[in-house]
């Protein structure tokens, strides 16, 4: 067994935040109050990383996922040696190159050629090494025609390409990548990924911070999920990504739940008039005579648990509790489903589908079950209504409830028919590594 390339033991990073805003702190006041030294002491601290331990074996590709502000970039800076851990130990074996900020050292006034030379030295090459790799770098960046123009004339894409080309040609033993592949056009991104794949083949160690979970699953051997500066989970990338996605979905659930505050306000009997329009002709609100009143709405899964985030193919039940103070004989229940921009996705009611009302009095529960949710990812607004057959509303709730569909398949549109691909004849095509849907299971019921 070879020793690991990166070892972190209980790595903690505490950032200082000074109580005064920086702009307002002056040397004069510091001198006058004699607080020069105490001003340099932290008065408030922020723990960006809290006791994170991990190990990256030599030649492995290690992915780090987490929400913004979870400490991913801090971890990368620590491994790069830009900052030091406050507590704990971190050791990196071999030459490190960090793709954190591409072209950070470029000087705008001088040519690309001179910048490559200086940037290479900055990243740890000798001049001779830079000279040897120069053509390769320029070829990779596809900047042959512009290499003698000052860098300030470059487009941001060209700038990034040159920055990436230099950094990748430093030929590090350990490569750190921070979400930099989002730059450049499709073709260049592909090229970068190819280069990274080549690195993997050559047994280099890669530490990878990204929001692109697909890349983590595809490229990484091992992954770490950081949550508020702590290691939430470490291990198989697929498992880590799944757990992370489930957590994100649960967070959205909570948000949607708390986002239902307007309901309470609406259900108090006020007419919602001031809501901004969502799309042409779509306005949130509630109106009607309340001869039949909608008292509660619940979006449930197949097992009858209230949920707001679903995956395609799941069964969703809309459960509407109504109340009629006096007997009513002319009534229709309707449901509409709208995309976030107000586009109608589907609408139906009991009248259209041929149900004949007989009598409604007191409390009742209406349940509409949608089997095999045929929607693509997105947020959908619900219309729920009780009205007369001629359309006169008893109680109409427009856009006050919603449900969210989360999917790993990036298909588009408003409707996802159940479908299947098949190929015959001369088409040779490998079966898809079936993209599994996110597990929205038992653990996030808040």
């Amino acid at each position: 067994m070879t020793s690991p390339a990166i070892v972190g033991r209980d790595v903690t990073k505490v950032y200082r935040r000074h109580a005064h805003r920086h702009q307002f702190r002056t040397l004069k006041s510091a001198l006058l109050t004699g607080s020069v030294l105490s001003d340099l002491r932290p008065e408030e601290t922020f723990t960006a990383l809290d006791g994170v331990s991990f190990e990256v074996p030599r030649g492995a590709t290690f992915g780090v996922v987490g929400e913004n502000g979870s400490g991913k970039s801090t971890l990368l800076k620590l491994v790069a040696g830009i900052t030091r851990p406050t507590r704990g130990a971190l050791s990196v074996d071999g030459r490190v190159s960090a793709l954190i900020e591409l072209g950070a050292g470029f000087h705008p006034e001088i040519s690309g050629r001179e910048n490559v030379a200086i940037n290479g030295v900055m990243l740890g090459l000798t001049r001779r090494e830079v000279d040897r790799r120069f053509d390769e770098i320029v070829d990779f960046a596809e900047l042959q025609e512009f290499i003698d123009a000052p860098v300030k004339t470059y487009s941001s894409g060209m700038y990034m390409r040159l920055g990436f080309a230099v950094a990748i040609h430093v030929d590090p033993d350990v490569l750190l990548i921070d979400e930099v592949l989002a730059v450049g056009d499709e073709a260049f991104t592909r090229k970068c990924l190819d280069k990274i794949a080549e690195f993997r083949r050559r047994g280099k160690t890669i530490l990878f911070v990204t929001h692109s979970l697909g890349l983590v699953e595809k490229m990484c051997d091992d992954a770490l999920w950081l949550r508020h500066g702590r290691a939430a989970l470490r291990g198989d990338p697929k498992r880590v990504v799944d757990a992370y996605l489930t957590h994100v979905a649960a967070g959205e659930e909570a948000q949607l739940r708390s986002g239902r505050a307007p309901d309470a306000w609406s259900l108090s009997g006020e007419e919602a008039a001031g809501e901004p329009p969502l799309g042409p002709g779509y306005r949130r609100g509630r109106w009607g005579s309340r001869e039949v009143e909608i008292r509660a709405v619940s979006v449930q899964d197949a097992r009858g648990r209230e949920r707001h985030v679903f995956v395609p193919g799941e069964t969703v039940a809309l459960v509407i509790s109504v109340h009629a103070p006096r007997p009513v004989t002319d009534f229709v229940f309707g449901v509409g489903l709208f995309a976030a921009d107000g586009t109608s996705v589907y609408g139906t009611n009991t009248d259209i589908e041929g149900f004949s009302p007989r009598r409604l009095e007191g409390d009742a529960v209406v349940r509409l079950t949608l089997e095999g949710l045929s929607l693509v990812e997105g947020t959908y607004l619900l219309d729920l209504a009780a009205h007369r057959r001629d359309g006169t509303p008893y109680d109409y709730l427009r856009g006050l409830h919603s449900l969210r569909v989360k999917s790993r398949i990036r298909d588009v549109g408003v409707y996802r028919p159940a479908h299947r691909w098949s190929f015959e004849g001369g088409a040779e095509i490998a079966p898809a590594e079936a993209p599994r849907e996110i597990e929205l299971g038992d653990d996030h019921r808040g």
Partner: protein
């Protein structure tokens, strides 16, 4: 301090590249380009000559022709002043490097000092040419590396000190302009040190200023053709070494805070 020197030696390729970049970039895009390194000191000299021959004529016999005496002091002073002025803000303006790239921060103030040293060295031949033309050039000019070395050590120390501290106290950049201005007048550049009466308060103040001894040495070696002030230069070397040690110490203490505060 030894660690600081060692790290500067270790990064010499980087320092070298950055200094040459600095020199290339400075006049890039201007019509005269590199000639500015020569034109700048000439214009500066012209201004001062105008002031001290037309507006405030200086007739002190031992420092005539005055414009030449002036040149001997102004050239190194410009190096000193520009080095400190630039290094105080250099870490803030290069914040991206410090924050996003593994970059030895002490390289930045060093580059500021060395790039200005290069400008000084480029201006030197013009001064020498004028001296030769006036028949003033003496063998003592060969000893110039000594005051240059002393000034280099002193400037590096102050540059390290200022660059790190300015990150925490941005006011330094503003104050520094005025401090340097005052310092200029408290150094015998536009007047003769020898003309200040022995025992006077001004003389005592001047003696405390290490730059006095450096500038006087330049003037003696280039203009007067002697090295009578060598004791003063030695003193300045001691002060410079202490400044370097203090600057390196402070820089090292604040090093870890730099990426976070920039």
């Amino acid at each position: 301090m030894i660690a600081a020197v060692r790290s500067l030696i270790r990064y010499r390729a980087l320092v070298q590249s950055l200094v040459s970049r600095e020199l290339k970039a400075r006049y890039r895009g201007s019509v005269l380009g590199f000639l500015w390194s020569f034109v700048n000191p000439l214009l500066l000299l012209l201004t001062y000559t105008l002031v001290f021959t037309v507006i405030l004529p200086n007739r002190q016999p031992d420092i005539q022709p005055f414009f030449l005496f002036l040149f001997c002091g102004i050239l190194p002073w410009t190096w000193f002043q520009a080095s400190l002025g630039e290094s105080s803000g250099v870490i803030i303006t290069s914040g991206n490097l410090i924050k996003k790239v593994l970059f030895p921060a002490e390289v930045l103030p060093t580059v500021a000092v060395l790039a200005n040293l290069a400008h000084f060295l480029l201006g030197l031949p013009i001064l020498v040419a004028f001296l030769a033309f006036k028949g003033r050039l003496a063998w003592t000019a060969l000893l110039l590396p000594l005051p240059i070395l002393v000034q280099l050590v002193l400037s590096l120390g102050l540059a390290l000190f200022l660059s790190a501290l300015t990150v925490h106290f941005r006011d330094i950049q503003n104050i520094l302009t005025h401090v340097l201005h005052l310092w200029f007048f408290a150094t015998p550049v536009i007047y003769s040190y020898a003309a200040i009466p022995e025992g006077s308060l001004l003389r005592r103040v001047l003696r405390l200023n290490p730059m006095t001894h450096v500038i006087v040495t330049y003037q003696q070696m280039l203009f007067h053709g002697n090295v009578d002030h060598w004791r003063g230069l030695f003193l300045a070397l001691l002060v410079g070494t202490v400044a370097f040690a203090a600057g390196a110490f402070l820089f090292d203490r604040l090093r870890d805070t730099l990426p976070e505060e920039v």
